[in-house]
């Protein structure tokens, strides 16, 4: 009996130890001997790269692509660890970054447009002005798709139908993905507040609903529908980029080509805590600039249908202010805010 209880206790500790090993697993992944001049980050102390959403989400993909590039191309000589902090499209993670890591240089986070829309809607106490915005990495564009046997042959067909009888056209779009479609409808003189949006958890569920006929059309990031477009199940009506994208969607016209003059992109960037030391900010800007020029990164960009749009400093700040006012206008038009 006594013997067994000791065994049980040992087992318990083994299980506990395994927990620690597992959680340390990713930080143990090969810190490489870097070649970048680096006075700020010591070789030993790990840096956390926060993906403020669940594994597999767009932010997570970006964080892991950046991490892999930095490690594979030996651009950093300290361990970098991706940590997922999901919750309220980044608002939960942002509040921790803005309040608990002040002045720290050992946490950086992926960020994008929801940092603005959350604040504007009142869902977050903090905005991009409350943290250190380091650089813009990429821009992802949106695509409007319909099932292959849909009566809507062009973007105009679809928008006309929405204008005529908004209730009869169900549009699949989640959260902020509603914005680009609202802007398209608005441009053509329709009322964005009347669009019959149906929200799903993710791109997979939206694809399913398009296939089974629940939805008439959907809008999401280009990469979400890439596979179904390639397979010929969906028809891309328009992408929201300024010029055509390559690869599988090279035949999909831009919105402007389709006769609706709207461009709208979702930028993704890197941010740090408030009052992040200047040297650290400069370090990341330089390192990222290098990383985005490598083949490893270019490969990721191609696979995900992103566009590398590196930007930093004053220029980036100005861009952020413009992006913020665009989103504000968009939210006002959809009636989400006044």
């Amino acid at each position: 009996m006594k013997d067994n209880s000791v065994k049980g206790r040992i087992l318990f500790f083994i299980v506990m130890a395994m927990t620690l090993v597992l959680s340390a697993c990713s930080s143990a992944s090969s810190p490489s001997s870097g070649n970048g001049a680096n006075d700020f980050y010591s070789k030993g102390r790990p840096v956390t790269l926060i993906a403020p959403a669940a594994p597999g989400s767009g932010w997570d993909v970006t964080a892991r692509a950046l991490n892999t590039t930095l490690e594979k191309e030996r651009l950093i000589d300290f361990p970098l660890q991706v940590v997922n902090e999901p919750g309220a499209t980044g608002a939960v993670s942002l509040s921790q970054l803005a309040t608990q890591d002040k002045g720290d240089a050992y946490s950086v986070s992926i960020t994008s447009t929801p940092i603005m829309s959350n604040y504007l809607r009142g869902d977050s106490k903090y905005s991009y002005k409350d943290v250190t915005m380091i650089a813009r990495l990429v821009t992802e564009y949106y695509m409007v798709v319909v099932p292959k046997d849909s009566p809507y042959k062009s973007l105009k067909d679809l928008i006309d139908a929405v204008k005529k009888n908004p209730k009869s056209v169900s549009i699949g779009a989640s959260g902020d993905d509603r914005l680009p479609f609202a802007l398209l409808v608005n441009e053509e003189g329709g009322n964005p507040q009347k669009i019959n949006y149906i929200t799903y958890e993710g791109g997979g569920e939206i694809s399913n609903a398009l296939l089974n006929g629940d939805l008439d059309a959907a809008v999401s990031g280009v990469s979400e529908f890439r596979g179904q477009v390639e397979a010929g199940n969906f028809r891309g009506l328009a992408v929201t980029s300024g010029k055509r994208l390559g690869g599988v969607v090279k035949d999909v016209p831009t919105a402007s080509e389709a006769g609706v003059d709207v461009t709208f992109g979702n930028w993704r960037g890197l941010m740090g805590p408030p009052d992040m030391p200047k040297e650290a900010v400069t370090y990341w800007q330089d390192t990222i600039d290098k990383a985005l020029k490598t083949d490893t990164w270019k490969d990721f960009v191609k696979k995900n249908q992103w566009e590398t749009t590196f930007m930093k400093g004053e220029e980036f700040q100005q861009y952020l202010n413009e992006s913020n006012s665009d989103i504000k206008t968009g939210l006002q038009k959809t009636g989400e805010i006044k």
């Binding site: 067994n4 209880s5 065994k7 049980g8 206790r9 087992l11 299980v15 395994m18 927990t19 597992l22 959680s23 697993c25 990713s26 992944s29 669940a54 594994p55 597999g56 997570d60 993909v61 892991r64 991490n67 594979k72 991706v82 997922n84 902090e85 999901p86 919750g87 309220a88 608002a91 939960v92 509040s95 921790q96 809607r121 869902d123 009869s168 169900s170 989640s174 959260g175 019959n196 149906i198 929200t199 799903y200 958890e201 997979g204 569920e205 694809s207 399913n208 609903a209 296939l211 089974n212 006929g213 629940d214 890439r226 596979g227 179904q228 390639e230 397979a231 696979k303 995900n304 989400e336």
Partner: protein, 510 residues
């Protein structure tokens, strides 16, 4: 047909290479571990292994990562049975009879039947994946919002299966779960509900957190609250064999088979996954049983069925991923991402364009399931001996385990306050004999019920006829009538004939 076997044999050739076999073993071992640990699910483990898997060949990496996924379904039941702490959402239902069995000293058979059921169902679902993928995938995508809503109605109306005592208290618990399910941003309108301006509540309340708060915490508290002599005699003993008796086998065979089929079919539905499969399997076993009153009091069928169903669910969940390129859950979405990182595009045509890879993965799943069985059966004795710990250290350990598990969900301290609050709520509910399982299941199913109802209404322009007009929705309505309404009427008529009491005087019990 012969073609499939030829491909499978080629698949085995690849999967049996030393390297692939080694990483398959590693994957299922890690899977078992994360299954055992509450809070760390397959999705977290797969995410942690991504940087590591980039250094591997695509085939080896994918064999390892799918191994983590199905391996976690084996481990999930362990803590449910032993300490009433579900390791995964899919094992919540296993706490009902599994923990009761452990309390009666039958932890061994409970763990064994979970492992064997998992093996049988796991293997069955791979066979299903091989032969039925195209058909199942087609069927699954005919499931629209209306069908999902009806499936949820069917599931929730079976909630009475989860209560052993007062029906009224069962409904109180269900309603509590449904109420908690409304907390957070409403996805359809973007309106915040019951968040009190707190950012941490915007995403609602996590059901793994809630399940741990409802099952593990109250159990730990009430065991430690026992005074002096009372708890000394309460040290759990292991009675009889660790192995299943002939009677256990006889009772379990049916649930294995039914759980496998049900789990595979439900698992193939995007957005639903193994948790509903295990829940429906439990409800079905109870309906079919000649002794439904034994459920919740340590019936082995209540472990065999659900544990088979959740493993078969994994094979099912891979069907839409492999054939349509549609991820049905967060975990399969992550697998899709990994496929794409390796430069592969799952979806229509995948079986042709990447034939070798797919068949190697399928072959590795057969091997992985055998490894898991060999790995898990000897562990039964080891795990079961945990229960020989004296009550206080055991349950202090359970509490510590719960805290670590909940913190590991999002690395957010706020979750720990919620664990405390709901733990106390759960304790008070347990003291008042209010069943806890309906609340947890209602929290899992509530959002699916609500969102799909509202999607249906938006799609149909508010026309309720949408629930009748499609063949599958009509079939589900008929099923609801047959399973939920007819038995009540039959029961009432029987009682009325026997006693001559008019039906409206009798309490309706579903």
């Amino acid at each position: 047909m012969g073609d499939i076997f030829l491909k499978l044999i080629t698949g085995f050739e690849h999967a049996l290479s030393l390297q692939n076999l080694g990483f398959c073993l590693m994957g299922v071992f890690i899977g078992t571990l994360v299954g055992v640990l509450p809070g760390i699910g397959p999705i977290t483990a797969i995410a942690l292994l991504i940087p590591f898997s980039f250094g591997l060949e695509p085939m080896t990496g994918l064999i390892m990562l799918t191994g983590v996924y199905y391996g976690s379904m084996y481990g999930g039941s362990t803590t449910s049975i032993l300490i009433r702490t579900p390791g995964e959402v899919a094992s919540i239902i296993t706490t009902l009879d599994g923990y009761e069995m452990a309390k009666q000293g039958r932890a061994g058979p409970a763990l064994s039947t979970a492992a064997i059921g998992s093996f049988i169902a796991g293997t069955f679902s791979i066979i299903g994946l091989m032969f039925l993928s195209p058909i199942i995938a087609k069927g699954a995508y005919y499931f629209g919002a209306a069908e999902y809503f009806l499936l949820m109605v069917l599931s929730l109306s079976m909630i009475s299966s989860l209560t052993t005592g007062s029906v009224l208290k069962g409904y109180i618990s269900t309603l509590l779960g449904l109420a908690i399910a409304t907390v957070g941003i409403d996805p359809q309108s973007g309106v915040n509900r019951f968040t009190f301006g707190n950012t941490n509540l915007l995403d609602g309340i996590d059901f793994v957190l809630f399940a741990i708060a409802m099952f593990a915490v109250p159990e730990a508290l009430s065991n430690m609250a026992k005074k002096g002599n009372e708890y000394k005699t309460d040290v759990q003993k292991i009675q009889g064999s660790l192995w299943m008796t002939r009677d256990d086998w006889r009772k379990s065979i049916g649930p294995y088979g039914r759980g496998s089929v049900l789990g595979f079919l439900i698992g193939a539905l995007p957005g639903i996954g193994p948790s509903l499969a295990s829940f429906l399997s439990y409800a079905m076993e109870r309906r079919l049983s000649k002794h439904p009153e034994k459920f919740g009091k340590g019936a082995i069928e209540g472990v065999s069925g659900p544990e088979s169903a959740n493993n078969a669910g994994v094979g099912g969940a891979l069907v839409p991923l492999f054939t349509l390129g549609i991820p049905g859950s967060a975990t399969t979405a992550l697998l899709l991402f990994i496929f794409m990182m390796y430069g592969l595009q799952p979806g229509p045509g995948m079986f042709e364009t990447n034939s070798t890879l797919i068949w190697a993965i399928i072959a590795s799943m057969y091997i992985g399931n055998v490894i898991l069985l060999l790995l898990n059966l000897p562990l039964v004795g080891v795990f079961a001996s945990i229960l020989k710990l004296p009550t206080v250290p055991l349950f202090v350990g359970v509490l510590a385990f719960s805290v670590i598990g909940v913190y590991a969900l999002n690395f957010n301290q706020f979750d720990l306050f919620m664990l405390l609050i709901f733990g106390i709520v759960g304790y008070l509910m347990q003291q008042s004999n209010i069943p806890l399982a309906p609340a947890v299941m209602a929290l899992v199913l509530g959002p699916l019920l609500e969102q799909n109802f509202r999607r249906s209404m938006s799609i149909s322009n508010g026309d309720l006829f949408i629930f009748f007009e499609r063949p599958i929705s009509l079939a589900l309505i008929i099923l609801i009538v047959l399973v939920v309404i007819v038995p009540n009427i039959v029961l009432l008529i029987k009682k009325w004939r026997q006693k001559g009491v008019p039906p409206h005087r009798l309490g309706i019990r579903g």
